[in-house]
């Protein structure tokens, strides 16, 4: 057979379970406890409302630039929900829904978005990496953490998030390849929200899917409807099982849509049509999930209202808390020197002191 087709390690599937009306494919519908279903719904709404408030505060000049999660709640909550506390979560900068699920306080995110280093603190016990802004640079970290977890033999895993744009960076490639070679328990969640700022998915790569990039590393890849939380959850569960069993990494492409701006510095009107936005509006992941939950009688109008009220209160009080901390923190720019090294070298101590002295001078 001098010219023959080479058999690949695996094929790439597309998975969707809920249709746009919220009706599940009965054969594929995952078994998820009622409590978890409602927790997931709550987390999706919470993340969205929080960002809606943040967008307002940003416009008022009370927050700086940030990247809203709106539209990607299913893609994040459906994946992060398969993690346990000992697993690790390695986000980029748009994973507020996942971070909130894991325990990041609202006030912490507010501090971060208001420009305070203290917003980068991660609560003890929460095994998450901090926000990573340089695109794709966090991906290899999830491989390293996965390697360490594998060495411990604990059955825990690391899950990392990144966008469609990130798949073009060398760090994505190198990390995926390392994960394959070292067979690390790492789940790579690519949130394909159709844009890297203004650059559409089609200009990002000629490949028909991002999931098929897994073939380059000999690892499993799957594309899911990222606005369908049941599909996302199913794919993530499969991947997690594989990782926990010692069968290594998986790439999951969640096909979703960034329903808001890239960041608050961005104007989507420059590069996409209202029609497109409206079409995706119809696929809103929260709406779809609600239809499903309502049909299953787990949710009704009243419950939704009281949830909304509760969240409204929570977000407002988080703001109050954050504002109070900001007032305290403002007086201490010298924290910029802290935690640069485990032990502060003398020259930094001198610079730090110069700053506080200056500050004292300025204040009296």
């Amino acid at each position: 057979m001098p010219r023959k087709e080479i058999g690949l390690e695996s094929t790439i599937d597309y998975l969707s379970i809920l249709d746009t009306k919220g009706k599940p494919d009965k054969d594929l519908e995952p078994r998820i406890g009622k409590e978890l279903l409602l927790d997931m719904h709550r987390a999706m709404v919470r993340a969205r409302r929080f960002d809606e408030h943040q967008l307002r505060w940003q416009r008022q000049g009370r927050l700086g630039t940030f990247a809203p999660v709106i539209g990607q709640e299913a893609s994040q909550i459906g994946t992060v929900a398969v993690l346990d506390d000992q697993d690790w979560m390695v986000p980029a900068y748009r994973q507020s829904a996942a971070a909130l699920w894991r325990g990041t306080p609202l006030a912490g995110l507010l501090l971060y978005n208001a420009g305070y280093n203290e917003g980068g603190e991660i609560p003890e016990g929460q095994n998450d990496l901090p926000i990573a802004i340089p695109v794709a640079s966090q991906i290899p970290h999830a491989v390293g953490i996965g390697y360490a977890l594998k060495q411990e033999g604990s059955g825990h895993l690391a899950m990392t998030y990144f966008g469609d744009g990130a798949t073009s960076e060398g760090d994505f490639h190198e990390a995926m390849n390392f994960a394959g070679v070292f067979n690390t328990p790492t789940i790579f969640v690519c949130e394909n929200n159709q844009y890297a700022i203004s650059v559409p998915r089609e200009k990002q790569t000629r490949a028909g899917t991002l999931a098929q990039k897994a073939i380059a590393y000999g690892i499993p890849g799957i594309q899911v409807d990222g606005n369908d939380i049941l599909a996302v959850y199913s794919a993530a569960s499969e991947a997690a099982e594989r990782a926990r069993k010692g069968d290594g990494p998986t790439l999951i492409e969640c096909v979703t849509y960034r329903m808001a701006v890239h960041t608050t510095a961005d104007d989507p009107g420059k590069y996409r049509t209202q029609k497109e936005e409206e079409q995706w509006q119809k696929k809103d992941p929260i709406e779809r999930f609600r239809k499903y939950l309502t049909a299953r009688k787990l949710l009704n109008k009243k419950k939704i209202e009281s949830l909304e009220e509760e969240l409204e209160k929570e977000v407002k009080s988080a703001w109050d808390e954050a504002e109070q901390r900001m007032a305290e923190l403002d007086r201490h720019p010298e924290v910029m020197f802290d935690h640069l090294y485990g032990e502060m070298p003398a020259y930094l101590g001198t610079q730090r002191k110069a700053m506080t002295d200056e500050d004292d001078d300025a204040n009296g």
Binding site: V135, G165, S168, S198, Q351, E358
Partner: protein, 326 residues
């Protein structure tokens, strides 16, 4: 003559050079349809088409690497790194390839490429968006390193950089992207790469700076003139590499006192090289230790505290007074 911001002035330079020379190509993330995240390339894609104003996939190393190939084959790419803090993804391409191609082939090929990058703090941006690491590039043989200080010289220097036969790293201070306007002639204007300018005359003290800090230094000079009756000579370097040290040495021979102001970290920063040059060229004229008023040796803090990191007018004035009182 129109009053332009630095963003508009850079846009003008790009537009005119693209009109004049078909080989000029603009490339980077979001530079096309979107006109760049700072709108520096606004309108260029409409005018020159996607083949010459190229929205690339998100990969800094490939942007610089592909541009290197284009330049070798006769094009003149002007790459945009969205922020200088992300240019490190392309560092090996700049250091190991773009900067060496001419040298490696003994002049057979050249890489007439510009890599534009917004740098510096003061605009309430996120982590990695406020870096000022010009030393990485200034210390790299084969690169030129240019940092304009305002709309007019930004335009003139960018035109020169595009026409320069070698790779030029072009830092654009975000702080001054839109903070003031200047008359910028529609008619072509260039400035030689490698020449500083005297931004203010004075006999009592020399202050050397560049880029976005030039504005603050000039403000400080006014304070010193008003409050202390001291006349400061301000030298705006414009190019860091090759470094135009002669006018600095000359000024120091006159004033005997020198202050250096930059956003970059102090240690192993650009100021150190200036002190070394003065040590070599005007040693006996220095009447007091050179003062460095710089960014600190820590990561630029998140934006709520970034002003405490940046050299302020007050810190510059204080540094000047220390130099004067010594």
């Amino acid at each position: 003559m129109a009053e332009l911001t630095m963003v508009e002035a850079i846009n003008l330079a790009l537009r005119q050079e693209m009109e004049k020379d078909e080989s000029v190509h603009v490339m980077g993330c979001d530079v096309g349809v979107n006109g760049g995240v700072f709108r520096v390339t606004d309108g260029l894609c409409d005018r020159f088409g996607e083949d010459r104003v190229m929205d690339t996939p998100l990969a800094e190393s490939a942007i610089v690497g592909m541009a290197t190939g284009m330049a070798v084959k006769g094009l003149k790419p002007v790459c945009e790194m969205q922020f200088s803090g992300f240019s490190y993804f392309a560092f090996h391409q700049l250091e190991s390839q773009a900067a060496r191609m001419r040298w490696r082939t003994r002049g057979r090929y050249q890489v007439p490429m510009v890599v534009r990058m917004p740098y510096g703090g003061g605009v309430r941006a996120l982590e990695h968006h406020s870096e000022s690491r010009e030393v990485y590039y200034a210390h790299t043989p084969g690169l030129k390193m240019v940092i304009p200080s305002g709309p007019r010289n930004a335009r003139a220097l960018l035109v020169s950089a595009i026409r320069d036969p070698d790779p030029v790293v072009f830092f654009e201070g975000k702080l001054i992207y839109r903070s003031f306007r200047e008359e910028v002639p529609e008619k072509e204007e260039t400035l030689p790469i490698g020449e500083s300018r005297i931004a203010r005359d004075g006999d009592d003290l020399t202050v050397v700076t560049y880029g976005a800090m030039t504005q603050r230094v000039l403000e400080a000079a006014d304070v010193l003139s008003g409050e202390d009756g001291v006349e400061v000579e301000v030298i705006d370097l414009l190019t860091l590499s090759p470094l135009d040290d002669a006018p600095v040495a000359e000024s120091v021979r006159k004033t005997g006192r020198l202050v250096i102001v930059h956003e970059a970290h102090r240690s192993f920063g650009p100021g150190a090289e200036l002190i070394a040059r003065i040590n070599e060229k005007a040693f006996y004229y220095l009447e007091a230790p050179v003062q460095r008023v710089t960014g600190y040796d820590t990561i630029v803090p998140y934006f709520a505290r970034e002003q405490a990191y940046l050299p302020s007018v007050e810190r510059i004035v204080a540094g000047a007074r220390t130099a004067l009182e010594f």
